[in-house]
Assembly symmetry: C2
Homo-oligomer: 755 residues x 2
Amino acid sequence: MMDFEERLEIDDFESEVMERIYSKPLLIKRVNTTSQIAIVGANVCPVESLDYEVPENELVNEDWRSRRTVQIFQYILLKWAFALIIGLSTGLVGIFNNIAVENIAGFKLLLTTELMLKHKYYKAFAAYAGCNLGLATSAAALCAFIAPAAAGSGIPEVKAYLNGVDAYSILAPSTLFVKVNVIGIIFGSIFGVAAGFVVGKEGPMVHTGSCIASLIGQGGSRKYHLTSRWLRYFKNDRDRRDLITCGAAAGVAAAFRAPVGGVLFALEEAASWWRSALLWRTFFTTAVVAIVLRGFIQLCSTGTCGLFGQGGLIMYDISAAKVEYSTPDILAVILLGVIGGILGSLYNYLVDKVLRTYSIINEYVTHSIIDPGPNGSVSAEEELLLRSYFCPNTDVSGNYKSFQCPPGHYNDLASLFLNTNDDAIRNLLSTNTVKAFHISSLFIFFVAVYCLGIITYGIAIPSGLFIPVILAGSCYGRLVGRLFEPISKLDVGLFSLLGAASFLGGTMRMTVSLCVILLELTNDLLMLPLVMLVLLISKTMGDMFNKGVYDQIVKLKGLPYMEAHPEPYMKHLIARDVVTGPLITFSGVEKVGNILHALKNTGHNGFPVIDEPPFSDAPELCGLVLRSKLLVLLKGKAFSNDRVLAGNKVLSKISELDFAKAGSGKGLKLEDLDIQEEEWDMYVDLHPIANTSPYTVVETMSLAKAAVLFRELGLRHMCVVPKSQGRPPIVGILTRHDFQPEHILGLYPHIRFQQ
Amino acid sequence: MMDFEERLEIDDFESEVMERIYSKPLLIKRVNTTSQIAIVGANVCPVESLDYEVPENELVNEDWRSRRTVQIFQYILLKWAFALIIGLSTGLVGIFNNIAVENIAGFKLLLTTELMLKHKYYKAFAAYAGCNLGLATSAAALCAFIAPAAAGSGIPEVKAYLNGVDAYSILAPSTLFVKVNVIGIIFGSIFGVAAGFVVGKEGPMVHTGSCIASLIGQGGSRKYHLTSRWLRYFKNDRDRRDLITCGAAAGVAAAFRAPVGGVLFALEEAASWWRSALLWRTFFTTAVVAIVLRGFIQLCSTGTCGLFGQGGLIMYDISAAKVEYSTPDILAVILLGVIGGILGSLYNYLVDKVLRTYSIINEYVTHSIIDPGPNGSVSAEEELLLRSYFCPNTDVSGNYKSFQCPPGHYNDLASLFLNTNDDAIRNLLSTNTVKAFHISSLFIFFVAVYCLGIITYGIAIPSGLFIPVILAGSCYGRLVGRLFEPISKLDVGLFSLLGAASFLGGTMRMTVSLCVILLELTNDLLMLPLVMLVLLISKTMGDMFNKGVYDQIVKLKGLPYMEAHPEPYMKHLIARDVVTGPLITFSGVEKVGNILHALKNTGHNGFPVIDEPPFSDAPELCGLVLRSKLLVLLKGKAFSNDRVLAGNKVLSKISELDFAKAGSGKGLKLEDLDIQEEEWDMYVDLHPIANTSPYTVVETMSLAKAAVLFRELGLRHMCVVPKSQGRPPIVGILTRHDFQPEHILGLYPHIRFQQ
């Protein structure tokens, strides 16, 4: 066993690297060495990496041999049953959420309009403002005090989880689930949406779906005896990942009633690993969601859901418009795409800035102080807007508000501002209604919504980005459509849809999934070529300036995300360059005291196990043992006084079942152990529990190639082995943190200027 | 350097494996050892594996360092330009194909009907039969004599290519491209479709798209000076794979006018590796296809394309039907799904049987003898059918044939049989036309089409499976709809769509892509939940009996396809168990004669390079060198008499550019070398050209884990290294063939009974 304080000798190391890079020797001081357990970025939340590797050792083989056909069948059946449960519950949450939002918003509006009709303008405004203020503060208070993890979109967190980063408070513990989900997300998003904030519900819905999936993935609760022997097969990161992917897909499907879009969203945006079996499972989940939604909508169409209106599976029906276009239309659409892409990436930039500002402010004050609700500066603006009304005829169908206008007329700005976001979008997308909105109203609304969307995203309530972006985008599109009226024959409603597409493409940077979601939202396949064109243009434009909004937020939150493409400078580094010491290894049969010492004094999660003479001819790497497994082994006291018989002790006391991974933050801890001092000199055999076939790379492999391997296989640890024989059989271990730009640039600060 | 005839000593090897599996020693004779170059299966066509690994060595690094920003920009720009070209040309081929089919079929029908109206029945029949016979034989003759590779669907071959199997005659050489594509596919499929065969055009279109992509991927032609220095970046398997994925997507998009469906088809069915960047590129390609199609359809709607009718982007419009359903409808749909799935898998079974029969027959006779054209037994049946006509009123819109009926009436069977497949499907999917087809007509047509589809697929003309399956399925669905009329309120047109979905799910086993393709074909999102339900059910049913039809054909063709999931018995084998000798290795600086000898006497494509004392302290694995690179090195005569200076020689004579991979079958061959006998004793340095960081696995890794790694990384060679030190640094090399069940079961015939 190596000395714990021993560091790998890395003399002349830095200059060697620099030589490789610049092809001439350089002398640069190493600046600082981030330790393997340090959290990258500003936020200091406990982050754990997930491990999607299939370990192999005696216990695992034993476990495999013991699985009978019926158990394998059970496992497959359960996978599908879980997918069904996720679909059902996400669908139910979605429909409940929708009904509540529509009812609260409807009630609020009824109250206001009634007062308006009686010409009690100030009372009406007070009622409207009061409602909003009350709803907003309760949503915010619930979130801030009970479930802070529920704030924001949730999609970046889900995305990070599926990339292999488990931030404790995000998804996992079932107690938090109740808070996050039932209280936080549902009430938060309901109140938020109903309070007239420019917030979407798809982020919270994705988060909800993932929380449900995560709860199921816990495999029940041993504490409450709510578990079963056959749930244990799900107690690993791989199966949980699959469940949470299904959950994310179900969330989008429920938010937009877009089942195929949900699958594609999970594939394109959320997931980092994908396999075709998963495609089928997510598809099943979203099909269940679609059926649940459809059933409830049919039920509600009989009027049993209060103010919840009639709605098909399609939210915004634009099929009334004739889709015919020629060259000038296409030129107009291209221009729309270019500007939309730029505005979308500006949106990302501003959201990023606002979030950074909030994170500073949030340190002393709760968000309620900066609540952009109706009593703040925005409400003054809103008040102003409410008074500058126009009253066109209601010669068009749609949810128009007559607000202070004579019967048969409506107020166009009020139809945008006083509606729920959904209805406002529906109005904006309405076709054959060229003159329905004044250009000035559209412009005012566009500016207001664009700013409000950015400001609102940062506050602590759960909120999505889709709806605000669609709202701003469709307003922008309609505006462009009005401006291009002289030269383009396309309906302004269709321009509105294309505007929404351009904004979505510019912020989210998705393609196929957005396309399908928009199709499913509008039920108009004839627009497909134009929507594709706009999405391509706006994504290209956006990519020139910055990253997609979710990637930005992941980065802002300091989550160690593994990018699909390695950075260019990684080509010039080799695996050995970023391995940081001290490397701690165990012997195949190790003393209990040494293990305890290592567990106490380091934060490492993986330790190489090395057999040394006289137990082997030369030192050889037996495998990699995980901290969690060591803790189980120590807890089970599988010790022996005899060095040779220690293995039998382990096999007799421990089975693979004991290693089932608990929910995040719930596993065994060092403090749970109760090891007497006289046991410190006993032996424990690590062979049966070590992963005997960890993935290895040779030390001279380029870091870029190693990073691709690491990400494609979803690893937590990757062993770096020496090129030449006669040296210790392992050079070091690469983890997720070693691939982070912060770590590498910390080691080699001059590398940034290369490339 | 090891002796070439030397084999690895593997005493007691078999019994050791059996011991691990059965936990008791067994004595079994090894049956036969498939060599690494043997072709698995019956077909003996030259198959080469593709290599998606990024090699690393001095030359590659030099190449990377020399790439300037402008070159990287060029590369990116070219990728998109290529996607554009693929989209444009596939779109053009698609539209040309469509116009030709419609015109030929229209002309044929005009001729027949005219004669009919003059009551010249026999002449009419003779004209019809003559047309068909002529078209069919010319299609078949063209294929059989000019481009035999163009026969069949093409999708299995594209699928195998994207899995990493390059069968020479399938995609690559540009000379064949002309034959396969221009003559074979286009004429073949046009004549086939127009001849009244039950064939689809999506398979040939996918093949066409891939051929175009492959031609582009060749990076021009050095022979005709049609290449450029910056095309060289595409001369590798990775970039070609991406291009061909785009091509496959474009093919589906062009065949069905379904751009999103095309992307999903490429993702779900065609591709074995996927990354999100590819999603965007395929999306771009299919968007181009959609725009091209749309443009031409608008052009043709003015009547400039002869008999090519008016058609939007949507092929079968069923939006006229009201989509409302209740419990009995859903039960009917579930039953439809179950039976459809069973019939679909039966279809697969029969196609497999028919193909096996044909492959025997094809050995002596050309297909024309078994041509099921109008003069064979089928035409007699057809004749019979033509006479049993009914003449309902033409109170419905659609492409109905009045065939021998008074004006204002039509013949329902003729409307199915005498139409192009597309029009027949359109008639079957027509909504609000319950009584349009007699049940008996539907039944006769269903049986005929089901059988014809199976028989036709095997003959030598290029043909797809989608259209025949949709045709049979929609007929089956309409039949079920008619039978369920008393209890179900769903329109028979919708039943027809669901029937098509169930057949597709039962044969192809795709989910999301089929769903989207059907949506794009019919423009009806309201049917989405039902279509999803049917697809799920029929896929589940089908999976119980056999594999998807494309997988079956891939297997039948004997292509060494790597499955996504390893077989269960692979869990019980380790990597060392399937490595077969003799392993041939080279020294870091090797004699020319030894290399020549190795290249001549083995078929291996990868050779480990090992540095031995005194050049290193202990034997160490430097890397893996490929046959193709060795040939380039020998051709370039980068030899030296001095062992130490050999490396400089290589670096001065060879650059990474020289290793650009030629089109398949076109690379350097051993016969192209001209090495004098006196050069045999000269030295050549393999370090600069060997891949210094090949992926390695330790010999004790389970075969299942190794197979997953192999497939996920898209490897051609995987090095197996010993667990313990002091042995030769490499145990063997795993290739695609070593993972094939035939190979493993050849080594361990008793393993089959386990599990």
